[in-house]
């Protein structure tokens, strides 16, 4: 049986009249990289703040490494590395001094890894914090989250502000942590940030989880755009009825006296039937492109809030 490292049951959090979390159910397993995705204001940071005991649940329950965050207290937080979504740092002290301070708060843990991690991200430890660019501040955040080699990493939009090269370095750092046995819970707006490394993702919208899936299933659902050119005419009927094939369009053309056709369609899963059907004709060009998961994702995002409200009203009226 897999051990659950983060669990929330019907978690509700209100800020005054604003309901930020409306019954959130989540289970993150030990050793996985879990993507927590949703649009602005969906409740990602709120969830994370409950896990770190900055906020107390209005209703429902949260459990981290087997205990409620409030009961776990300081001992629980010693086992967590946290990267805030909006890292606020000011003052004259240098990033090195700040990181040394964080190590002292951890009873000295991680102090010896500061230099290595800073070197890896090209962070100058002698520069004062208040002059640092957004990306450099984010590096400080990354170093303090990873330096004590925690068994659970909670990262709120971790790669914001990092350039592509450092994003790659960051993803490497995350996979290394996972390979050492750590569990990683990371939030993001966009799937592309996490799809490479996450095993599962949850999609949150308006304070509720609308989908949890492993990335392979999601990708499968997103499908591939297949395009083919034939050196002869084809009929779209030949393709529309095929299994795993959708949205077939066929365009016929004539060029230098030859007749041909272009076909494009959306393929989910196994391409066997499509390939066999195409083999009946002379194929001169072929391309298959993974559809951006982002497209699928936008389908979730786009459901207008008004529709949700009417759904709830309808439910309540029953």
């Amino acid at each position: 049986m897999t051990e659950v490292v983060i669990r929330t049951d019907g978690l509700v959090k209100d800020y005054g009249d604003v309901r930020a979390l409306a019954g959130l159910d989540l289970a993150v397993h030990r050793g996985e990289i879990f993507g927590f995705l949703g649009p602005n204001g969906a409740g990602k940071s709120t969830t994370i703040r409950v896990l770190l005991d900055l906020l107390r649940p209005t209703a429902g329950r949260a459990e981290v490494l087997g205990v409620a965050p409030r009961d776990g207290g300081a001992e629980l937080r010693a086992r967590i590395g946290y990267l805030p979504g909006e890292l606020a740092m000011t003052g004259r002290k240098t990033s090195g001094e700040l990181l040394a301070h964080m190590a002292r708060l951890r009873g000295g843990q991680g102090g010896d890894r500061i230099a290595t991690l800073a070197g890896r991200f090209g962070l100058d430890l002698d520069r004062p914090i208040r002059g640092l660019s957004k990306g450099n501040k984010q590096k400080v955040g990354v170093v303090q989250a990873f330096m004590h080699d925690p068994e659970l990493l909670i990262l709120d939009e971790p790669s914001s502000g990092l350039d592509p090269l450092l994003q790659r370095e960051f993803l490497d750092l995350v996979t290394e942590a996972r390979d050492r046995g750590a569990t990683v819970f990371m939030s993001s707006h966009v799937l592309s940030e996490v799809q490479e490394i996450a095993s599962r993702v949850a999609i949150i919208r308006s304070g509720e989880i609308v989908d949890v899936n492993d990335v392979r299933t999601l990708r499968n659902r997103a499908g591939q755009i297949v395009e083919m050119r034939f050196a002869e005419r084809v009929t779209s009927e030949r393709f529309t009825s095929l299994p795993n094939v959708e949205d077939v369009t066929v365009e016929s053309w004539s060029e230098n006296g030859t007749d041909g056709a272009s076909l494009s369609c959306l393929l989910h899963g196994e391409p066997d039937a499509l390939l066999k059907a195409a083999a009946d004709y002379r194929v001169v060009h072929w391309s298959a492109q993974d559809r951006e998961l982002e497209d699928l994702f936008l389908d979730f995002y786009r459901v207008p809030a008004a529709e949700l409200v009417t759904e709830e009203v309808a439910d309540g009226g029953r």
Binding site: A74, A88, R104, G107
Partner: protein, 266 residues
């Protein structure tokens, strides 16, 4: 003190060292300047003329009737006015900033999510504030002692120590109130407003009460607990000082308890 309070305390002190040094210099300069002015007082009758033209009640309230003695002079300048005013500005500002200010600007987030209990974070900050105030009051007391000795003024070191102790307790009280209100509400402005408001009321009650003959005003005013009777002349007033000492302790406990219970909006 638990081991994890120490890094919190030292972290805050390290952040503050520059501003603390500036405040120390300013307080030393202001104290020395005013005390150094004392010998000139005896030589000119300007002050006498100035005092004679003021309403009697006000003269007494400000202690100007005793201006001719070192104890009276120091009370009406440095110990009754300038040092408390400057120290309260420092302590209330620092107190409100240390929890609520840092919560509002988000800089508290990393410490809050580190393996240090919330109560330890607050306790470390209270201690840091107290250390600051002890240092600054010591600066004032040492400047006083140095000038009093140099100018050969008739004022015992024990009396200076008594006044400095009262000043310390007074400032600790309002500074800790600012910190505690900030810790309870998460709003720096509330900490500033409550502590500064109370300090002003305390000062006004001490000044107005005797002038209009209303006893309860001095009974409830921490400023009166500190300065009535004048510790520079009479030494420690145990009753008043005990009341003064209770304020920071009670405020600290309330701050610790409330901070542990609420949502933190870093």
């Amino acid at each position: 003190m638990a081991a994890d309070t120490l890094p919190v305390l030292s972290g805050v002190l390290r952040d503050q060292r520059r501003s603390l040094a500036m405040w120390g210099l300013a307080l030393a300069a202001v104290s020395a300047m005013y005390i150094g002015f004392y010998p000139a007082m005896g030589e000119t009758s300007d002050i006498d003329a100035f005092v004679r033209n003021m309403p009697e009640g006000l003269v007494e309230a400000m202690g100007y009737d005793e201006m001719a003695t070192p104890a009276g002079y120091l009370r009406s300048t440095v110990y009754g006015l300038l040092a408390p005013a400057l120290l309260l500005v420092f302590a209330i500002g620092a107190g409100a900033r240390l929890i609520a200010g840092q919560e509002e600007d988000g800089t508290l987030e990393l410490e809050l999510t580190s393996p240090v209990a919330r109560t330890r974070l607050v306790f470390g900050r209270i201690l840091a504030l107290w250390v600051d105030v002890v240092i600054l009051v010591a600066v004032v007391a040492l400047a006083t002692l140095a000038l009093v000795t140099a100018l050969d003024m008739e004022l015992g070191a024990d009396k200076i120590l008594a006044a400095a102790t009262g000043l310390l307790l007074l400032v600790l009280g309002f500074g800790t109130i600012a910190l505690a209100v900030g810790a309870a509400t998460g709003r720096r402005a509330y900490g500033l407003a409550v502590a500064a408001g109370l300090a002003v009321v305390a000062f006004m009650f001490d000044a107005i009460g005797p002038a209009i003959g209303v006893d309860w005003m001095t009974t409830v005013s921490p400023f009166s607990w500190y300065i009535e009777p004048n510790p520079l002349a009479e030494g420690v007033d145990p009753g008043g000082f005990a009341l003064l000492a209770a304020v920071p302790v009670v405020a600290a406990v309330l701050g610790l308890l409330t901070f542990d219970r609420r949502d933190l909006m870093v």
